[in-house]
């Protein structure tokens, strides 16, 4: 059985406005779902709805053809989420932060120091995150994603605060993840350069 994320007929209303209506998609292993749209068009909301944090007006998100609401924990065990706010503690060091994350969700068996080296943050290991630049913090958040065992990546604006080299790195990493049979939902302003099946959803 290969993993599959699908959604049918999603409608989301926030306050007074209807962000999207009758939205459906299906995403198989090795594919990328690209959410496009302007600021405030509901990309982040859709992402949060997929992760199960927003309640939908109608429709359902399915993971392996089973509604997510019926298997929330299993689904959350299969995803990792990179949001606009990194969700890392500024007072803790890189290692302390990632150790906590490691206890929360299943971890892959890659060598952490390899990951740190690749992201260029090996020398920052014992620094509190507060003293790092925004771009460096972003890379720590990427490290969390790479260290987890989850097949589904939810990445919201992954290129924020990253330099050109960083952006290319994100695309390469995503490529590798998809090539290994993972899948990715990405919200992005800019176009991406990914060698995989890309499904686009415009909001």
């Amino acid at each position: 059985m290969t993993a599959k994320l699908s959604a049918n007929d999603l409608t989301l209303i926030r306050g007074e406005s209807c962000l999207f209506q009758g939205l459906s998609f299906a995403l198989n292993a090795g594919e990328l779902l690209l959410l496009e749209g302007q600021n405030g068009s509901g990309k982040t909301s859709l992402m949060r709805a997929i992760a199960g944090m927003l309640s939908l007006e109608s429709g359902e998100v399915l993971w392996n053809d089973v509604p997510v609401s019926q298997q929330r924990q299993e689904f959350h065990g299969s995803l990792v989420w990179l949001a606009h706010r990194t969700g890392l503690k500024g007072d803790l060091t890189l290692v302390e932060n990632l150790r906590f994350e490691g206890a929360l969700r299943p971890q892959s068996d890659v060598d952490p120091s390899e990951v740190f080296k690749r992201l260029g943050i090996s020398k920052l290991k014992s620094l509190p995150l507060r003293s790092m630049s925004a771009g460096q913090q972003r890379r720590v958040a990427l490290a969390r994603m790479l260290l987890s065992d989850a097949p589904l990546w939810l990445v919201d604006e992954p290129f924020t605060n990253l330099d050109q080299e960083g952006r290319e790195l994100v695309m390469r990493l995503t490529d590798e993840h998809l090539a290994a049979g993972g899948m990715c939902v990405m919200a992005a302003h800019q176009d991406v350069d990914i060698n995989a099946t890309v499904t686009r959803v415009s909001l």
Partner: protein, 157 residues
Amino acid sequence: MKPRQQRMLAVGLAVAGVAIAAALTLKAFDENMMFFVEVSNVVAGEYPQERNFRIGGLVVEDSIEREEGSLDMRFRVTDMRCELSVMYNGVLPDLFREGQGVVAHGAMGAGEVFIADKILAKHDENYMAPEVAASLAKHVDEKMAPLQEGGAECNSG
């Protein structure tokens, strides 16, 4: 552990927790009842010496004596078997009447007199504090039953 089993365990733990909490609350009620001493036991000398306690019963008809010009007063309380004199200094609740149920809080003073520092009267003639009602009912039943030899019959009544 599968999430499903986790949920079962969680529900089980919550139910067990509520059950334990209920048991602890019942224990608290028990302890509260210990606070209460029956009039018969007080007359027989079985009451806590060191601390305050509560007694309860009916105010005996025509037993209220007031001192002119002060709030000092005396009355007798019965649990249908024994009677006990109670002394009190203070403002009484309006519902305090002869023949009514009353709960007094205080300690034993010299000369078989209960010195009350708090008097609670109950409004409804049908209503009594549960411990008073239980105590009365018990003694009424005993009176109805044929007298048993060597029973703890009260000698002050």
